[in-house]
Symmetry: C2
Subunit: 206 residues, 2 copies
């Protein structure tokens, strides 16, 4: 069924606290789909137990900067002296193997990726309400009131960017949200511009 | 969950013999979705046991022609002295109630509908191969060789029209095809241009 079919880049994004990670985890628990995580590349040294090509691709600063020049990142950023980026070529390899590459990323990063990955599927995870997001941030217990306020302010700035995404999936219930993402992936594969190439001869695409 | 959410017009089309009716039937057997059939309007008199508003909307020739003038059909045709058409207003009523209206129609009709129902979801049901279509027509047993040849010729002319549809669903296995259509319906509801209006206030749509 998946013969010769390319996978998709599926970008899962949304405000901090919306539950992106939980939705992504639930997504990977749904069987019958060939999902893989997008693995970031970094110049930070591996920590105890971290495996190259699994946790991160660990590279030198020189290699990272060479890759920047060669436009090999969908997005990258510097953070406390280390680079972190999403390597385009590594994702393409997986996609060519028919795998759906899932990239979980915050809103600004997603919009950078959008510039370079036109055929990616961009999903904005939204909370059911603003209040729900606020309560979720409170429930985490790891944030102080100031930090929660900062995150809410950031979310307020990010909500209007939802229109730049292809889909909006409300995280009302985690498995529900994950199911919707699976539906989106299936539908995207059936989109005419993708599906028609599988039936080139029969459907006479020039 | 469906509060205030409009339904979709889902047009299922494809060459004769591809199994549109079987797929549609399997679709209606999948639970948890608010699907209804699009009911045609006709000037043909009701047959024994046929119910107005269930089998067809039965109207007079005068009423049908008045409706044509008022542009109230998504498509219509005359067939052995009677009119048959797809009434736009009846479909809109159902859509406003949040129902997904499923219209099963041949290719030419679907392309007419497309002109008037820009926000409909158009799905081309394709056979796995041309040979599979041929074998399916043979298996029906109701057609003579000449008629089968005519249908195959028509299918050959219709395949290249697949690119005018939003999605191509291959009828490799009926429940599989029906599942894909459900995925398409779910994904279409999550599309940003539709979903954003549900979260207008939060996502600050102007």
């Amino acid at each position: 069924m998946k013969l010769n079919e390319r996978g998709l880049l599926v970008v899962i994004s949304g405000p901090s606290g919306v539950g992106k990670g939980t939705v992504r985890k639930a997504l990977f628990e749904i069987e019958g789909h060939d999902l893989v995580y997008s693995i970031s590349m970094t110049t930070r040294p591996p920590r105890e137990g971290e495996v190259d090509g699994e946790d991160y691709y660990f590279v030198s600063k020189e290699e990272f900067e060479r890759r920047i020049k060669e436009d090999k990142f969908l997005e990258y950023a510097e953070f406390v002296g280390n680079y972190y980026g999403t390597p385009k070529d590594k994702i393409d390899e997986q996609i060519d193997l028919g795998k759906e590459v899932v990239l979980e990323i915050e809103v600004q990063g997603a919009l950078q990726v959008r510039e370079k990955a036109k055929d990616g599927v961009f999903i904005f995870i939204a909370p059911p309400t603003k209040e729900a997001l606020f309560r979720r941030l409170l429930r985490r217990g790891t944030e102080n009131p100031k930090s929660i306020q900062n995150r809410m302010d950031k979310a307020e700035r990010e909500f209007p960017l939802a229109h730049k995404y292809d889909y909006i999936v409300v995280n009302d219930e985690v498995t529900n949200a994950a199911d919707r993402i699976i539906a989106i992936i299936r539908a995207e594969h059936a989109k005419t511009e993708r599906a028609i190439y599988k039936y080139k001869e029969m459907l006479e695409v020039k």
